[in-house]
Amino acid sequence: MKVLVMVKRVTDPNVTIRPNTDSSDVDLNNVKMAMNPFCEIATEEAVRLKEAGIASEIIVMTIGEKQSQEQLRTALAMGADRGILIETDATLEPLNIAKLAAKVVEQEQIDLVLLGKQSSDKDNNQTGQMLAAIKDWGQATFASKLDIKDDKVTVTREVDTGLQVIGLNLPAVITCDLRLNTPRFASLPNIMKAKRKPLEIKPAADFAIDLTSRIKMLHAESPQVREAGEMVGSVKELIEKLKTVEGVL
């Protein structure tokens, strides 16, 4: 079974992001970048499938600027077999990401796509669902457990009311949630080996897909700082305010 893992280069979740000076976008000048944490989980799951003898090959792909190779190398160091970078300096929307990924899925004859449920920068939570739609495959989002037998996969999903268990026919797209696994650290020898694993770079333009953005960012701002409210003199007064003025009790 050939598994495709999609990973994304994002700003490090520990770094606080600010708008740029003219508030037209965010300021990413020399901000530390990292692999999206949910993508690490997807990579780990793929590696475990290979270790369990279920996956035969793990291809990791990303779409983005040249430096996104760093994140592919991280995935290769964790255990993926080879990498594909679709290079573009443009920030693509999930729809266009999904269209490019669908091409890779076809070219590589992929049986299962694993990716994070969302990225920690834009929090869109769309790409996996869109890829499944384009391919007309089944999808399981928010996966916290996978069980693959023959051409069927049973997935436990984290939903608002608890857990939902569904079955899918392969090929399928699965997006990974936090509790699916704890990703391993890449070891030094594996990081060095990863530098020699095959990594193919393809310009996005070669795919002959219209990658025009549908959504335009008009403005980026910091959230409003809360103003200090009023001091109350007693518990009684507090409850009164919460009941009558705010209506939250």
Partner: protein, 308 residues
Amino acid sequence: MTILIIAEHDNTNLKDMTLNTVTAALAIGGDIDLLIAGENCQSAASEAARISGINRVLVADNACYKGQLSENVSALIMSIAANYSHIMAPSTANGKNILPRVAAKLDVSVLSDIIAVESPDTFKRSIYAGNIIATLQSSDAIKVITVRGTAFSPADKNGSATMASLEQVHDEALSMFIRDDTVVNERAELTSAKIVISGGRGMQNGENFSMLEQIADKVGAAVGATRAAVDAGFVPNDMQVGQTGKIVAPDLYVAVAISGAVQHLAGMKESKVIVAINKDPDAPIFQWADYGLIADLFDALPELEQAL
């Protein structure tokens, strides 16, 4: 403009987030249809018909919509999508699971988790873990949108919409529902509770957190804690609210004996109403609170419990 809202429900009852989504749709303007897809969902449908501002309730009642399987519900939506300028859903696990699939089929983008409507094509959403509010304009013919419930007030329920049923069944046979393992929580979940009461290191020990729990149980609140309280070993790590813990945005957040470290504020500053109870009048939390009470927790908490 005509707007389609995908309702969130459990077949028996309508979920409140649907009402917030209706308010967002009303801000866009135009006729609003509401879709209820499920199995034996007539009861939820009748409830939906009472939402003020709704034109029609469309009901698709079939076993293949059990568990809101994305493949089937998306196909159902696709069968009517061309009639609408906007397709919206609350940003719940279902909404997020279904709408991007619909959008890709329509060859349009999705605006996820919007927090404000600026105009029929311009919306605000929060990105980079809440550090940036982006204003975004969509050029797509059909706008597909998920809505953050806490950012909009709920619509009233004194309307009477007409009901129509969608008979054609869309079973894609790509996936199947196996079962729901609904988690029964004794106490509300931190991230979904309407009220959260949190304690800081000023609680002094783990036992004192029971005072918070008693109040929480009276009002159906969840109990949280600061990193300092977790580090001090008072409570387990999964109760931590903050940048490295859980991010919460309840209607009411009560911070007891919490100084107000930025790390903690980052996890709760989106709450609608923030109350701070602290004996230190200089505690930074008072700069962030809508209501502040300078009091010792051993006086204030028993009084609060009595009064509720």
